[in-house]
Symmetry: C2
Subunit: 508 residues, 2 copies
């Protein structure tokens, strides 16, 4: 066995452990009988720890050194050299984090999550505050261990969006706000859009049938996938050969599951599109990535869920093509509605309290608010006990609404309770990247609008697969953006998309 | 941490790996999209290997030595001392098996299984023969590595039924044949039983509803379990907190799924009944067993599936109690049938070709035939190429029928293709033990027949849990039998059961 093969085989083992963790988690969230939760948690913890121990072992360091030496002189842009390089970087970061800290974060997670659930239920921020304070403290320690020069948040971002920094985010958000806030002001003055028909009762089986039909039209391969129900929907991959999505059916809100399925399908297409040569196999000669996820970053992954959900699924062309089928499946609910009215209803803009229910524009303001708070918590300029006040003040400033309760405000998201700080920005980064990629696809595929208008998604999927999906984790998000669009992360295309689309929907 | 706790924590890790394997296998057989099979196979192989490496490591040996020293002077019959002792025995055996042999068996498995499937489909024993010959050779090597004094089969039996030997099996089978063959001759002369109504079309959902209602009546806890569809039904446990069963619905054979569910429920009740103190938990202080299975042996486990399926589920009292409900659910199929006719139909005895379709009596003859062949393959007195001839001769001798094709004969079972030799005896051992346990329950619970007649299974389940289930793997099958029934494995109670039941059903 060559040094590279040895490195690769060891990484493949770690990948197998992590894919097993993914299976245990998927099962836990979709199939597991309720009383299995505790022992399942222990199993997930053990396997995660075994993977972590192997990845951060001295043995891994020696394998990396040998593989590095063996790939010197090879094409530095090739998968093999990249595999070794990115594994070295991840290894260096992982070795800087004390195992005790990893352990304490993991141990606190379930208690903290439970406290958050209780606090949310009882509208009692004080009940969650000490747990949140502990998570903030541990994440500041984590940032210190990983290391940073400008801002502790930079260290945390590394886990989700390599190359992103607090400073770059601040610039991006300033640009976005400058475009979004005036647009929102104008929309606020417009008459309300009629969307009452969206909240009529509709059967979950029918919602599923429509969503899945579109997922397949987008290109989701059910020989390598399946759709289940989950309280908090997600996509998960156990190699490109098995990529599963979940959704939640709301009996009196038709768009929830439909756009939810489009969204998770976008994630799934990314994973199903990874080059088979990069997939863990009995004859693996290349590298899929250390954490069994194919995407360049959380933001890049999110760009694909947003692209299929919003750029495609919430477009006028989409509904002109597919509304007749939807109407046929929901004849009572959609009697007298036409494609245009439906298109306008699912694109109505309305500042609201809850992030996951927000529209395409205001969603980003929910994110900015959270990210600004996270940065403040990390650099110490915001204290945990001030969070409800700061949250409400920012909601009023950005969205003009004030949560009547903390449950509908600062307590609404699970993220902080689980100890994750730094993932929120990737949602907005995803929106921004989606517009950049879509602009590049339009440039490369002259007839794209016509094929999309006929419901033919094959040319777009082929382009995305060729340019993005097949590479898995091989490129950093910035490299990928440069290769595909010719520039780094840019707010321009996204703002142009919002201004064109919503300028037309809400004329002055 | 004490030496015992250290040993225990290490075993708990191995258990978590094996529970994860169980989850991956369950998922693979019930949920996984078809194209996920190859990468799933790799994941299962990696986790199994990691568990095996850890269990057979020098480190494990040191932990065992220390734990052994630490438990000297403790109650030798207590769980702690037993845990260390049985782990030492398993460790000693596992260390004697060369890793290369484990690897070769695992590697050949999928190819051999595929060859068997093709051979069965094409009725071409010659296509499978070389693969089978390899599996025989490897199992003879395995027996040699494990070590034996009298017969190589003894070494293989150790994996499934500790304490059982080829010689003891030969004695048991002689006793069973002496009782069964005359009974069978008499039955062959009796008029055929009317069972045409069993093969009328019946909806799978209804089959499921009835089966699951009875499973719950037996005591199967759905907060810690679930029922799914699988081509080859099985029960699987990921600790007592999550014990799942599967079945297969035959659209034109009502008893298939019903008795299949009773059978798997018996396995599941065993696992759900393990003492919570023996369950892997964050505060584990005791030992569940190295392979995540709670039972004393395969035979002991099978005794519980047989007990609930046959001793309870195929009894007259059961159908007098539950037939009205079944008839209500299948009114067309069971019009004009009564409990007695149904009872006789599901207990009709008929020599047939296929083991898994056999009745309560002839089933054992299918097993004896296989076990005698396995012993001959292991001691070299039977050659692989003679198998079709020997199979057919034995079928004719024991059952009076000759398979028209090898597909319905020597090729019918998957077991040998996967390299398992020595598990078949446990099916008949299970029948024998079930009757012994049932006799003991009757002795200990004077009103048992009356409670069973009213459909109240709680007293029986409580007795089984107290005497058998809660102990998990703590006792060997012989120890358990001695504790519960006062004697070792005995054919008497089983033969008495058959003679009483079928003597009445088929009077002279």
């Amino acid at each position: 066995m060559t040094a590279y093969d040895e490195f690769n085989a060891y990484v493949a083992e770690i990948n197998d452990l992590l894919c097993a963790v993914n299976t245990l988690v998927w099962d836990g969230r979709t199939q597991m009988p309720p009383d299995g939760a505790t022992t399942r948690g222990l199993q997930v913890a053990t396997l995660s720890r075994l993977a972590q121990e192997r990845f951060t072992s001295d043995h891994m360091g020696r394998l990396l050194d040998a593989a590095d030496a063996a790939t010197q002189g090879e094409d530095a842009d090739g998968y093999r050299a990249r595999a070794v390089r990115s594994a070295r970087e991840a290894y260096a970061v992982a070795r800087r984090i004390p195992l005790a800290l990893v352990g304490e974060l993991a141990e606190r997670k379930s208690i903290s999550q439970q406290a958050w659930e209780e606090a949310k239920q009882r509208n009692d921020f004080g009940h969650f505050a000490p747990h949140l304070a502990a998570m903030v403290r541990l994440n500041r320690e984590l940032a210190g261990a990983i290391g940073y020069t400008a801002h502790p948040y930079d260290a945390l971002l590394l886990q989700y969006e390599p190359g992103m920094t607090a400073a770059r985010l601040a610039t991006l958000f300033t640009e976005l706000k400058a475009g979004i806030l005036p647009l929102l002001l104008r929309i606020a003055a417009a008459p309300a859009v009629d969307a009452a028909f969206l909240t009529l009762p509709s059967a979950p089986e029918q919602q599923r049938a429509f969503g899945l039909a579109i997922a397949q039209a987008f290109g989701y391969d059910l020989r390598r996938g399946r759709l289940d129900v989950a309280a908090h929907p997600f996509e998960v991959s156990f190699t490109r050969q098995d990529v599963r999505i979940t959704t939640r059916y709301q009996p009196t809100y038709l768009p929830g599951a439909i756009f939810g399925i489009f969204h998770e399908t976008g994630h799934a297409l990314y994973e199903q599109g990874v080059d088979p040569a990069l997939t863990r196999s009995a004859h693996t000669t290349d590298f899929l990535g250390l954490y069994a996820v194919g995407g360049a970053s959380f933001g890049t992954h999110e760009s694909q869920s947003r692209l299929w959900e919003n750029q495609i699924g919430r477009s006028r062309a989409f509904w002109q093509c597919h509304f007749p089928r939807l109407q046929q499946m929901f004849p009572d609910q959609l009697a007298g509605v036409d494609a245009e009215r439906f298109y306008r209803a699912v694109n109505r803009v309305q500042p609201s309290l809850i992030r996951v229910e927000a529209d395409e524009i205001t969603y980003n303001l929910h994110i900015m608010l959270r990210v600004e708070i996270e940065m403040g918590l990390m650099d110490g300029s915001i204290a945990v006990e001030d969070l409800p006040r700061i949250w409400n003040a920012k909601m009023r400033e950005y969205l003009g609404v004030i949560p009547p309760t903390d449950s509908q405000g600062v307590l609404q998201d699970i993220h902080w309770s689980t100890g994750y700080f730094g993932s929120f920005p990737t949602y907005t980064i995803g929106n921004v990247m989606a517009a950049q990629f879509m602009e590049a696809a339009q440039r490369d595929l002259p007839g794209l609008d016509q094929t999309l208008a006929t419901g033919d998604y094959q040319p777009l999927l082929a382009w995305l697969t060729e340019n993005i999906y097949r590479h898995g984790r091989a490129y950093s998000p910035e490299e990928l953006l440069m290769r595909v669009t010719g520039s780094g992360l840019q707010a321009g295309p996204y703002l142009a998309h919002l201004q064109t689309k919503f300028g037309e929907l809400y004329p002055q």
